[in-house]
């Protein structure tokens, strides 16, 4: 489909028949079209001139992908005594205590089943702990699969002195994660943090989600 061949060709010696002309003009078919009825919804890529690409203007928005992005610029301070007092990060990551990070959390709409959903983010964080035993992991959570192994961990450090933010000890994480064969619907993805350091300062640049149909 849908090249087509007319049912009738006319010759000088044959008796002219209006019905034959009409068949060439309009003979609806349920399978391969054979008349000019082809223009009633049966055109496809075969009917396009072979040397022409279709420009972007011909394609509806979000036909191939529906990207979304969130971001933030402020410093975000997370305090252990307010949110995670007594949390034990030495026996695994307690997912339920991870908090979503503003600017690193997104809800997006996916109007069709996606072959692949690409999630990317840029974030940095550091703690003020002087102890060498604290941990501050950041993990990716999605509505489809829960917490994922896209985790990075900023351990504290035994450097004496006060606050160490921005002294070259922050953890920088420009990550990606790919979800395959995602069904349509509203979805969420978020970077979440948990820490047993006294204070954690997060600087998030953005989170980008690109569902490809």
């Amino acid at each position: 489909m849908p090249s087509f061949t007319y049912p009738n060709t006319f010759s000088d010696t044959a008796t002219s028949d209006a019905d034959d002309v009409m068949e060439n003009l309009y003979t609806p078919q349920t399978t391969t079209p054979n008349s000019l009825d082809i223009i009633n919804g049966s055109l496809d890529a075969v009917n396009k001139a072979s040397d022409d690409n279709l420009s972007r203007r011909k394609v509806q928005p979000f036909t191939f992908a529906r990207p979304s992005m969130v971001g933030a610029t402020a410093n975000l301070d997370f305090l252990e005594d307010r949110w995670w007092q007594g949390v034990d990060l030495t026996s695994g990551d307690p997912d339920a205590q991870f908090l979503p990070i503003p600017g690193g959390s997104i809800q997006y709409y996916q109007p069709w089943d996606a072959s692949i959903v690409l999630i990317c983010w840029q974030i940095s964080w550091g703690t003020d702990s002087g102890a060498n035993t604290t941990n501050t992991p950041i993990k990716l959570f999605t509505s489809t699969t829960g917490s994922l192994n896209a985790t990075r961990r900023q351990a504290s450090h035994a450097v004496s002195g006060g606050v160490r933010y921005g002294k070259g000890t922050d953890m920088f994480y420009q990550g990606h994660y790919a979800l395959l064969s995602e069904t349509a619907g509203w979805k969420q993805a978020s970077l979440r943090i948990c820490s047993d350091a006294e204070q954690t300062r997060v600087r998030v640049r953005n989170m980008i989600v690109i569902p490809f149909r």
Binding site: N47, D52, I116, R153
Partner: protein, 231 residues
């Protein structure tokens, strides 16, 4: 409909079989070669057009990742020099895994050739990888690159993807504390980078110091083959 020019029948014109055939033929020829501007703006949507992502029968899939505890100790070979194919080995988790969630950062697929004019019609391949290295206390340098597998099953280095990192030096106050270093890499491969047929991509490593080791606990690797034009 555009550029289909039918000569109308005027008074006194002979309506012959040849003229009828000619007019029907003109219509058919036009309908089989419609110009781009015959398509209405925003006339095509998800119901008309296929996905930009091309199914390439990839194994184990378009993405691969691992998460190993304790971290795997990698011992790459010595760096062979810029653009040299030999001695690079795939980044691995040591598990021998073959699924999306374990095993080497390597994805193989049916043979393709980049470029929309080629049969596979893959104009570009987006590639992402992330490596998570527990920061060591040594200062050995390690090299990473992307390699593709040619049709003779040889792995070829994509020269402009070579990078060098020194995990121990980058965060010099927290060496050995358990903090992790993230190595991100994003690129788009086109036929300028890989001009020949190939059937695999992998993340490979070497080291500047023979017998040097580094630890790796998490990694991810994703390829997305895309049409780059609607033809």
């Amino acid at each position: 409909m555009a550029d289909i020019d039918i000569d109308l029948v005027d008074d006194q014109d002979a309506l012959t079989a040849a003229s009828l055939n000619s007019r029907f033929s003109t219509l058919r020829t036009g309908i089989l070669a419609l110009p781009e501007y015959a398509v209405k703006d925003r006339g095509l949507g998800p119901d008309h057009l296929p996905s930009l992502v091309i199914g390439i029968n990839a194994s184990p899939g378009l993405t691969r990742r691992f998460d190993v505890t304790p971290p795997y100790t990698a011992s790459p070979a010595a760096y062979p020099g810029w653009g040299v194919d030999a001695d690079w080995a795939v980044v691995d988790d040591g598990s021998g895994g073959t699924t999306i969630n374990s095993g080497p950062l390597q994805i193989t697929f049916d043979t393709i050739q980049l470029g929309m004019s080629n049969a596979s019609r893959i104009g570009a391949m987006m590639v992402f990888y992330n490596l998570s290295l527990p920061i060591p206390s040594n200062t050995d340098r390690f090299y990473f690159c992307l390699q593709y597998r040619d049709t003779g099953a040889a792995w070829r280095t994509i020269r402009n993807t070579e990078i060098v990192v020194n995990p121990g030096r980058m965060l010099n106050t927290i060496n050995g504390t358990g903090a992790t270093l993230d190595i991100p890499f994003n690129t788009i491969l086109r036929e300028d980078e890989i001009g020949e047929e190939f059937n695999g991509l992998r993340v490979a490593h070497t080291t500047a110091t023979p017998a040097a080791q580094y630890r790796i606990n998490k990694a991810s690797f994703t390829i997305i083959p895309l049409h780059t034009a609607v033809q």
